[in-house]
């Protein structure tokens, strides 16, 4: 469970919100690693400087699965901003990850500009 973040979270702009994300995986599997790198990439692209990722390995901390109602791995939980949202899978479908994290509007604005 290495708390991983790209450095101190910086809010870029007054309106931009901070994202606190938690990624549940089960062991250092290829799928776990893929999910983590996919997430890092998306965050760097869309949330640079205003996100925090916490990775929880359920093999090491099985008791934590109950708290966030984890059934499927990998599961990404968006703890902030509220409300909590859950995404399952290895996050390879970037489009759906962006929809799931409700970053689509941000992306739409940026593409319009």
């Amino acid at each position: 469970m290495n708390g991983t973040s790209p450095g101190p979270a910086i809010e870029s702009g007054g309106t931009a919100t901070f994202f606190r994300l938690r990624l549940y995986v089960a062991g250092q599997t290829t799928r776990s690693l893929a999910a983590f790198s996919n997430l890092r990439e998306i965050c760097e692209t869309h949330l640079a400087g205003r996100y925090e990722i916490e990775v929880i390995d359920l093999i090491e901390h099985p008791q934590l699965a109950r708290g966030d109602e984890i059934v499927v791995v990998p599961t990404l939980v968006r703890r902030l901003p509220e409300p909590i949202r859950k995404l399952i899978g290895d996050l390879s479908d970037t489009e759906r990850v962006l929809v799931g994290l409700q970053l689509v509007t941000t992306r739409a604005v940026s593409s319009d500009e």
Binding site: R31, V71, G89
Partner: protein
């Protein structure tokens, strides 16, 4: 056929290990329980009792077989679950506190799930594994794992994962129950039966004629013998129970011991002893002919001997039965209070036939009676073949427990009587009570239609119910007619009168003879007295005569001496001279 038998034997060399469910009847139907260390699928429609069966499997396992369990609830929250089974007296919180049970609520809602790529169910595996480890579980219930199919859209992945899950459970060595909702034309909506191949149990809850019946069937059980039929089951305040009907063989023993019917004269009609212990008797009769009374008397007599009794009543309430029987001198209330007797009553239309019988089984299990009365069988509704099949099962069950049973049945026509509800073949003793109309009266007649294994009376006897109880009398057979009631009493009175007259006549003769004898004796005595008197008189006369004679003789001698006549000594010379 012998070949396949041999093959079967070879392929199943050792007996399959089984985990007892602790559910009444189910262990019999499954020949010992669920396959140990394997997964059993329990499927059925909504509200059929899947959850309850699973929970009972865990609770009994924890409390009776030392096997802690894990309940994974996909639908109900732990609070709902605890509440639902709390009414059955199971305290889940207590079991959890004692580390005999772990409950995990796995919920996943469709709104939660945004699929972004490849996934697996490892999260579930980890949770179940953690729960198993936390209590050292030997039993696991997943209820209902199919709930995952809604939110998790990728069915192909989910199926593969479920297959892996069941295999994993087997590897963990736990005995598992997986529940599934019945599908349209399939056992489960999502075809779970494809993955669970060891044992499949189907629960069914159907309503016919506005009456519901629950049934259970073991669809398959790999490597094990199991009952092939649909068995009714009950869900009541003590939980889930299946009719134990494994005793379908005719292997029950035959006791030579006899059990009194409670009516002395009826015992005499039955070879002097009554019913055989563990046999089944049927009392058929027209309305009001005293069937219930005979049944109640049988139970009362049993209680008096210290034998527990059970009455399954389908027509009257217990209070009504007690009151009515008290009016004919049968005191059931006393035994009810003492606990030796129990009356279980239910309206015939309150449940389906099989539910009634399941309740009967339950009552028999609970009360453990020696004698049982079912009053009346004819109250039960259902198709004739169903009645026959289920009653045969019930009778088999009673026999296997060596319970002596008396069942009553109402007959209203000759056709009814002949059919005997189609169960006469499983009945050992059949008494028929009928009302006979004769000379403006209805009287009860009783006769024995059959009684296996004993010589018995072939006569119609009169059956009396009075305030003092039940009595059976000889009837008068005269000029081809049978006399009963006041006709019989009439005849009896006339006979008594005739007998009295005959007795009086004889007495007179005897008295006359005595007088005569006395008179003659008196005459004889008088004559004897007269004879004695005369004898006395005459003999005294004779005596005095003899005395006088001797005196004369003596006097003559004296005189001769005085005259000097010497006889031999010279006296004679003088006499000659004079």
């Amino acid at each position: 056929m012998t070949e396949s038998g041999l093959l079967a034997e070879v392929s199943v060399p050792s007996r399959l290990a089984k985990a007892r469910t602790g559910i009444a009847g189910l262990d019999e139907v499954t020949d010992g329980g669920l396959p140990s260390g394997r997964t059993t699928l329990v499927c059925g429609g909504p509200g059929c009792g899947k959850t309850l069966m699973g929970m009972q499997f865990l609770v009994r396992g924890a409390l009776e077989y030392g096997e802690p369990g894990v309940f994974v609830a996909f639908e109900e929250s732990p609070a709902e679950l605890a509440q639902n089974v709390g009414s059955l007296g199971w305290d889940l919180a207590d079991l959890e506190a004692r580390r005999l049970l772990a409950v995990d609520h796995v919920q996943i809602s469709a709104s939660d799930v945004i699929e972004t790529g490849a996934w697996d169910l490892e999260g579930l595996f980890i949770r179940v594994g953690l729960a198993i480890d936390s209590v050292g579980a030997k039993r696991v219930v997943l209820d209902t794992v199919e709930s995952l199919f809604g939110p998790l859209g990728n069915e192909i992945v989910l199926r593969a994962e479920l297959r892996r899950l069941f295999r994993w459970l087997n590897d963990r060595g736990v005995t598992a129950i997986v529940t599934g909702e019945r599908g349209d034309g399939t056992l489960t909506r999502h075809g779970l039966e494809e993955y669970v191949s060891d044992c499949v149990i189907l629960l069914d809850h159907r309503v016919r004629d506005q009456v519901s019946t629950r049934r259970l069937r073991v669809v398959k059980y790999r490597g094990s013998h199991h009952g092939p039929d649909e068995y009714p089951f009950l869900i009541d305040r003590t939980g889930f129970s299946v009719l134990p009907v494994s005793s379908m063989g005719l292997s029950h023993g035959a006791s030579a011991e006899r059990v009194s019917t409670g009516v002395g004269e009826l015992d005499r009609m039955l070879d002097g002893g009554g019913y055989y212990r563990g046999s089944s008797a049927l009392i058929s009769g027209t309305p009001g002919s005293g069937k219930t009374t005979l049944g109640a008397r049988f139970l009362e007599a049993g209680c008096e001997r210290g034998e527990r009794g059970l009455m399954l009543a389908f027509e009257e309430s217990p209070a009504q039965i007690v009151r009515n029987m008290a009016s004919v001198g049968i005191d059931l209330g006393r035994w009810l209070e003492g606990g030796a007797l129990r009356i279980v009553a239910a309206r015939p239309d309150a449940y389906g036939l099989e539910t009634h019988l399941a309740r009967s089984y339950r009552a028999i299990e609970d009360h453990d009676p020696v004698n049982v009365v079912i009053d009346p069988l004819s109250g039960l509704n259902g198709e004739a073949y169903e009645i026959k099949a289920t009653l045969s099962r019930l009778i088999d069950h009673l026999k296997s427990r060596e319970i002596t049973s008396v069942m009553t049945t109402l007959v209203t026509s000759q056709a009814d009587k002949q059919s005997g509800l189609g169960i006469s073949s499983v009945i050992d003793t059949w008494l028929d009570v009928s009302n006979l109309e004769l000379e403006g009266e209805r009287n009860r007649g009783i006769n024995i239609l059959k009684s296996r294994g004993m010589p018995h009376s072939n006569q119609v006897r009169e059956f009396l119910i009075t305030g003092a109880g039940v009595d059976i009398r000889d009837v008068y057979a005269s000029e081809g007619a049978v006399l009963m009631g006041s006709a019989r009493e009439d005849r009896e009175a006339r006979d008594r009168a005739a007998a009295t007259a005959r007795a009086a006549d004889l007495g007179g003769k005897r008295r006359r003879l005595a007088y005569r004898r006395a008179a003659v004796d008196a005459q004889i005595a008088a004559l004897a007295a007269q004879r004695d008197a005369e004898t006395l008189e005459l003999s005294s006369e004779i005596d005095s005569g003899e005395l006088a004679e001797r005196q004369i003789e003596l006097d003559r001698g004296v005189r001769a001496a005085a005259r000097g006549v010497v006889g031999d000594s010279g006296d004679g010379g003088e006499e000659v001279r004079s």
